[in-house]
């Protein structure tokens, strides 16, 4: 089932009708699931702040004798939970869709944005701000304030991708295999440079780095959403246009070309979109792993390999799962908080192993 992603349906077949009907139902269910996840996230947290009351106050006016508590609760709901929910949905959707697009592009069900060095490049940008923000980069951090970190991570991810493209493109043709290898080399280089920065860091910065690398949606603020939100939304909006092309690409580049798909442009769009989405996500939330692998796989079992359904479904499920993971992170050790990267890895890594066990001998990787 899963390995059919390698030969996705481009032409209509007898089962096509059943599958598209089923996929639509799955997507509808995922929409409901996301709504439920948003509701759960809005109403759960370490404090007893009641989102229902806050929204009630907003609709019907505040109960006078409850004004002080109401002010605290509305701050918790509007300034802590709501930005986290929006950021969580954006990041979850971005990571899951990026994973699905990468898997389609590399025609490899185990491809991931981390593979081509985007995540490593983003991390380098972020670590540079954490370590050099008071010295070499002081003018930048003074100018951008708290936005310096997300923007540096985004630029790092984008720069990595652009270099990758220069290396992998010859005479207007991009070799996916070369890109993969170059990505590994670039990721290694980015990690080495990050290592130099870590060596230069003092103990306070090291502690900040550790927590940043574990990933968290804890720093969600409206300003951050304003800075990276548009980037992620634009990238996500562009990705559904890739679905038909990615379906054709499953048959091989030459065949896709004969079917009238502008293969080179498809690759370029996919790579830029993934870099933007992943760079922005890593920037605001640090290292959150496994969403890009687990979500598309789970959905291939449910809706099949057709990217027209897989991409929107990935966005919905990615957003829901990250909200749920964050709800766990926020409440399980309350009043303290777990880094969400730990939650996604604990849930995602065993699942990933299970996929590998199921596919053993079916797919040669």
């Amino acid at each position: 089932m899963v390995d059919q992603s390698i030969a996705g349906p481009v032409t209509a077949s007898a089962s096509e009708g059943d599958r598209s009907g089923r996929a639509r139902i799955v997507i509808l269910l995922l929409c409901l699931g996301l709504a439920a996840a948003v509701f759960l996230s809005l109403t759960s947290g370490a404090s007893d702040a009641s989102a229902v009351n806050v929204i009630g106050d907003w609709l019907f006016g505040t109960v006078p004798d409850n004004a002080a508590l109401s002010a605290r609760d509305s701050l918790i709901v509007y300034d802590i939970r709501l930005p986290r929910i929006i950021l969580g949905m954006l990041v979850g959707a971005a990571l899951a869709v990026s994973g699905a697009v990468m898997q389609g592009l590399f025609r490899n069900p185990l491809a991931d944005p981390g593979l081509i060095g985007v995540s490593a490049g983003s991390s380098l940008g972020a670590v540079a701000v954490i370590v050099l923000g008071a010295t070499m980069l002081a003018p930048v951090t003074a100018l951008l304030g708290t936005l310096a970190l997300p923007l540096a991570a985004f630029c790092g991810g984008l720069a990595t991708t652009l270099v990758l493209y220069q290396v992998a493109t010859r005479r207007g043709q991009t070799s996916v295999a070369t890109m993969l290898l170059a990505g590994i080399a670039l990721a290694a280089l980015a990690m080495a440079l990050t290592g130099i920065l870590i060596f230069m860091a003092d103990d306070r910065q090291l502690r900040d780095l550790t927590f940043w690398q574990l990933g968290s949606l804890g720093g969600a603020t409206w300003a951050k959403i304003a800075s990276v939100g548009p980037i992620i939304v634009l990238a996500l909006a562009a990705m559904p246009f890739l679905a038909r092309g990615l379906n054709a690409l499953a048959l091989g580049e030459a065949t896709a070309g004969h079917l009238g798909i502008p293969v080179q442009r498809l690759k370029y769009t996919a790579i830029i979109g993934v870099s933007a989405a992943v760079g922005a996500s890593v920037a605001v939330s640090g290292g959150i792993g496994f969403v890009g692998i687990v979500v598309p796989h789970l959905l291939r079992l449910a809706v099949g390999p057709d990217n027209r359904y897989l991409l929107p479904a990935s966005a919905l499920l990615g957003a829901s799962l990250l909200l749920l993971a964050d709800a766990v992170a926020r409440t399980i050790v309350a009043p303290a908080e777990l880094p969400i990267g730990i939650v996604t890895a604990i849930a995602g890594a065993p699942f990933f192993l299970w996929i590998l066990l199921r596919k053993r001998g079916v797919v040669d990787l």
Binding site: G45, A46, S47, A49, A68, A71, R72, I76, I80, V129, I130, V131, A134, T141, A142, L143, L144, G145, T146, L147, L149, L151, F154, L158, F199, A201, D202, D203, R204, Q205, L206, D208, F211, W212, S216, G218, G219, A220, T221, A223, A226, S227, P230, I231, L234, A235, A238, F241, L242, G245, P262, R265, T269, I272, G273, R330, V333, P335, A336, E337
Partner: protein
């Protein structure tokens, strides 16, 4: 299909930035922590001190030393002394606070040691009506007295704080005097950890460096600040007479492992197998127990030469 030109807005960051740039320009995430700590923001006295959240081990210790622990409703994970503090709800590591977690204990005031974070969490907490007082940290005799006075003022017990500050002042002065007449100063290497045979040592601007000086020693490390891995040759050149370690931080490093390190083995400390282990919070907390810690460290270093 979408053409590359339709994605151009993704690549051009400028408009996004300009629209997103808030008027408030803060310092970046990590760097607030490196600024010299100024006075607390706003009023330095809690209007209502009935429910206080204490963030930072030394802050919690000072609240207990002032006898004001009845006001505490939460602590952070670095507050592990006195034992009674462990009964309080733990809002997490002081550098990874969760704003909703801190607010969930319904504090009427937050007393946080300088360096509490992350910045976003502190910003959100400062937006609430709950007063947030940041207590500066300096690794010195004066730094401890300053902490005591600020905590006392915040809790509205200035007189009590003054008494405690004088008492600690006298104890600290006495503890420092114990080693004043010693001519031959010991060189001390504070080892935070040994990972893969690499020594992670304390340079200047660290709590360990401050303690070594107060106990009449010399930090064997020169030329870097904070905690850094030292090369084997640097360890040999540092010529430490004594190795100092925390006794309860992470998995214990055995003496054999430490002195089995060839570079350590060839130093004076290695030949004499001189290793001192002291509880981390006690040694590095810079709080009410620091005078005793200075005395203990001095006795471990100089033995009978210490004058009472």
């Amino acid at each position: 299909m979408v053409s590359f030109s339709r994605l151009a807005p993704v690549l051009s960051l400028a408009p996004v930035l300009r629209s997103a740039m808030g008027p408030a320009i803060g310092l970046s995430l990590a760097f607030v922590a490196l600024q010299p700590a100024g006075a607390a923001e706003g009023t330095a006295v809690f209007a209502d001190r009935s429910k206080i959240a204490a963030i930072g081990g030394s802050i919690t210790e000072i609240v207990y030393a002032l006898g004001e622990e009845k006001h505490l409703v939460a602590r952070d994970s670095t507050s592990r002394y006195p034992k009674a503090a462990l009964e309080l709800p733990d809002v997490g590591y002081m550098r990874a606070l969760s704003p909703e977690g801190v607010l969930s204990v319904n504090p009427t005031g937050i007393l946080a040691l300088h360096g509490s974070g992350p910045k976003e969490a502190v910003d959100v907490l400062k937006k609430t009506s709950v007063p947030f007082i940041e207590v500066p940290e300096h690794y010195s005799h004066e730094g401890i007295l300053e902490k005591v006075r600020i905590v006392g003022k915040a809790l509205g017990v200035d007189a009590k704080a003054e008494v405690l500050a004088r008492e600690l002042d006298a104890k600290l002065t006495a503890a420092e005097k114990q080693t004043a007449s010693i001519k031959e100063r010991k060189r001390i290497l504070f080892v935070l950890s040994i990972q893969g045979g690499k020594i992670l040592a304390a340079g200047s601007d660290t709590a360990a460096d401050g303690m070594v000086k107060l106990a009449g020693g010399v930090n064997a490390v020169e030329g870097f600040s904070g905690y850094k891995q030292m090369s084997d040759e640097a360890v040999i050149t540092a010529r430490p007479d004594v190795i100092l370690m925390m006794s309860n931080a992470g998995p214990p490093v055995s003496d054999a492992e430490l002195f089995g390190n060839p570079s350590v083995a060839s130093t004076p400390a290695g030949t004499a197998r001189k290793l001192i282990r002291i509880d981390g919070a006690y040694l590095l907390g810079f709080g009410p127990r620091t005078a005793d810690a200075i005395h203990d460290l001095a006795v471990s270093l100089y033995g009978g030469q210490v004058t009472d």
